[in-house]
Amino acid sequence: MSTTAVIIGAGPAGMAAAEILVHAGLHPTILDEGDQPGGQIFRKPQAQLQRPLEKLYGFDAARARRVNATFASLRSKIDYRPGTQVWAAGNEILHLIDDSGSSVQAWTHLIVAPGAMDRIAPVRGWTAAGLYSLGGAQIALKAEAAVIGRRVIFAGSGPLLYLVAYQYAEAGVDVAAVLETGHPFAQIARLPALLSGGRLFARGLFYMAALRKRGIPILTGVRLQEVIRDSDDRVTALSFRHRGMEQVESCDAVALGHGLRSETQLADLLDIEFSFDAVQRQWLPKTDQDGRSTASNIYLAGDGLSVRGSEIAEASGRLAASALLHDIGLPAPSKVERDRRTMRSAARFREALEHAFAYPHEEVAALPDDVVVCRCEGLSAGAIRQTVERCGEADINRVKAFCRVGMGRCQGRLCGAAAAEIVAAASGTTIESVGRMRGQAPIKPIPLAELVRSRP
């Protein structure tokens, strides 16, 4: 049987996998939601907004240049399908939708590299106009050369917080403050592991120093209280507690994010088994060290397998492609052992990062009853707790069925993590035992007419 290798995602993982497959003589198909290769990390502006790579990507400019060059060299040897959404998966068939309509793509071997999205910890008032996810704020800047406000507060946790705040400051935006809910420097014991991040860790320090040099306050151990809104539901300020003091900082926009969560719906539809990752507090697809999933001929790579950043994503993409080649009896050109070592040492760094910039799960579990958690369905923390109590339910899918949490347009992507924390706390059980919201096609909402239109 001939091999039809399909890669989902043209970010660092998908591109690295493609490069390995092409060098082995395969002609892979790459399906990508983006209009241009590079994923979120190397997302490009539209042509008329083109800026120098140094401006766009900072420290990553050289890698961006290399990714661009790699893609150019591969272009004629891959079937590259930008602007293509995989919306369902069946028996060795992917169901696609793009500008010209719906179509199907058969595969014999599949590399799934769908990436990650923002992880959000809801806070009172977070549905206000002018509040953006951190990733959204970065995409506005990268892809649209637009900013989310004139005076912006960056709140949440994680390395991306400092990077995006820095990028906004560089773009001339008044960054009012960076409010970190974690305690990144409180854990001296983990410092060696953090330092093992080497360049990545150094960059984080650079961004912080650059922000401080501009006089931008960086507060850690912050407890976010409320996004304050005017009568038009627009953000006007953010209130928070820091070292026991209540503070209010005025702004016209807030970028909120607590790290990233893996996109796993596709793995779910492909019947891959999951296991609970206690560090990331998320259910993740199970794989072996090279990315082989529990389903035959399906491999996972990049942040969709586990959030570890773009450099590790490249290594995991090479490993997944090498595993694929091995499984079809071809030699892998990659230095597999080197990539495995990279993955192992990265795991230590990422674990330290997750502890330093932890998801504020205790705060989320204790959100006041009247704070909105599921914005699509307008459900508050209290409504979720009542469902748990009224029905005696601790199963996230049953709670979803009874009160509609996670049933709206975001399909549980935004509210799912927080809802699971609330259900676990309200029922006195662990987040692991409440289970995981099942994925259901379509992977992202699609207008009926788009679905109906067949590709000519």
Partner: protein, 376 residues
């Protein structure tokens, strides 16, 4: 806990949970076994249509009785499960279909169910969101819709509150005849239960349970392919159907539009079913054809669940033809949701009183010739 009950029920779908409640209300001691969660299979994942219109004559008496219970859910189980009599409009594509609707209207009338026959111009006036390609329709105002996710668990909760023992996540290892009834041995090793009467409401697995007692019928499985959109402002009033089946559409109170057409894939052995993308595409096309406004509405989810199907498309309901004290209700063939509440009332009467005032003679198991089990 006593290990002896008047009644044991196998299967915690809507029919089983309703039986548990109704039997308890008649004073019986009741235990219900469900191998997963109550309402976890077909009862919880169906379309949610609550209609009498369009049913086979053999079901109409049962359906009529069920409608009465649907209207009194609040009093019976303390919640209305989002049941609303939004009406059911059945559309005709052709004049021949219209003749069928007119004939059906007379049949409904015999059971005390009122339906209005509407001509094409009535449709355009009353339901302007419909594409204008229908010859007419039949409108039954007291039919409607409910939220299927809520109903079986709500019946289970009410039954439990009255003292019914509900054992979820509890498979049956053996169910067999004993001297004065039946003995049931749970697979988890818990003590055996003795009962006088046994009720089989095991849905897609009903024929399997029946076969344990030598009642052999052919039951296959089906998985109706369901879809739901994002919420939109109120647009579609009644629950919509069409002559000849295929597409059905309703809009829930919170705004989502729910529609279905065709079948997904079901695996009864693996206890799972999944929607099919190809069928979802066909359903989307049919939905837009019926209600063109849905064109730009977002599809959020598709799903399905396993239902039992009988060769003639009608359920089995009634006493076992061979075993005294055994009663069956399964194989609802994709339209058991509306019937569920009354199925429970009827089974409670049959098992405790020996008779029921509802006409179910057309649903007896012995309408099928016994068949030989093929050698393994």
């Amino acid at each position: 806990m006593s290990a002896t009950f008047d009644i044991a029920i196998i299967g915690g779908g809507l029919a089983g949970c309703s039986t548990a409640l109704h039997a308890r209300l008649k004073g019986a001691s009741v235990i219900l076994f469900e191998r997963g969660r109550c309402g976890g299979q077909a009862s919880g994942v169906n379309y949610g249509g609550v209609r009498q219109q369009g049913r086979h004559p053999a079901e109409l008496s049962l359906s009529r009785r069920s409608r009465t219970i649907w209207g009194s859910l609040q009093q019976l189980i303390g919640t209305d499960c989002e049941f609303a009599a939004t009406g059911h409009l059945k559309l005709a594509r052709t004049d021949v279909d219209m003749e069928d609707l007119i004939a059906h209207q007379a049949l409904l009338g015999e059971h005390g169910i009122h339906a209005d026959i509407l001509e094409a111009r009535d449709l355009t006036r009353r339901f302007p969101y419909l594409s204008g390609r229908y010859a007419g329709g039949s409108y039954c105002g007291e039919d409607g819709q409910a939220n299927p996710r809520l109903v079986a668990p709500a019946f289970a909760k009410a039954a439990r509150a009255l003292g019914v023992v509900i054992r979820e996540n509890c498979k049956i290892a053996v169910a067999e005849r004993a001297e004065s009834g039946f003995v049931i041995r749970p697979a988890d090793g818990s003590p055996a239960i003795s009962v006088r009467r046994l009720i089989n409401t095991a849905g897609a697995w009903g024929a399997e349970v029946a076969a344990m007692f030598g009642d052999l019928v052919k039951e296959t499985v089906m998985a109706p392919n369901m879809c739901v959109t994002e919420p939109i402002p109120p647009l579609i009033g009644p629950n919509l159907g069409i002559c000849g089946g295929s597409i059905y559409i309703r809009q829930a109170a919170h705004g989502s539009v729910i529609f279905g057409a065709g079948l997904g894939v079901a695996d009864a052995q693996a206890l799972r079913a999944r929607p099919l993308a190809e069928v979802t595409l066909e359903a989307a096309a049919a939905a837009v054809e019926m209600v063109p406004h849905l064109r730009n509405v977002l599809l959020l989810r598709s799903w399905t669940g396993i239902e039992g199907r009988m060769p003639d498309g009608l359920p089995v309901l009634g006493a076992s033809p061979t075993v005294e004290g055994l009663f069956h209700a399964f194989g609802f063939s994709g339209h058991g949701f509306q019937l569920g509440p009354a199925v429970g009332a009827v089974l409670a009467e049959l098992s405790l009183d020996g008779d029921t005032r509802t006409s179910i003679s057309g649903l007896a198991m012995d309408r099928f010739a016994p068949f030989a089990v093929p050698a393994p």
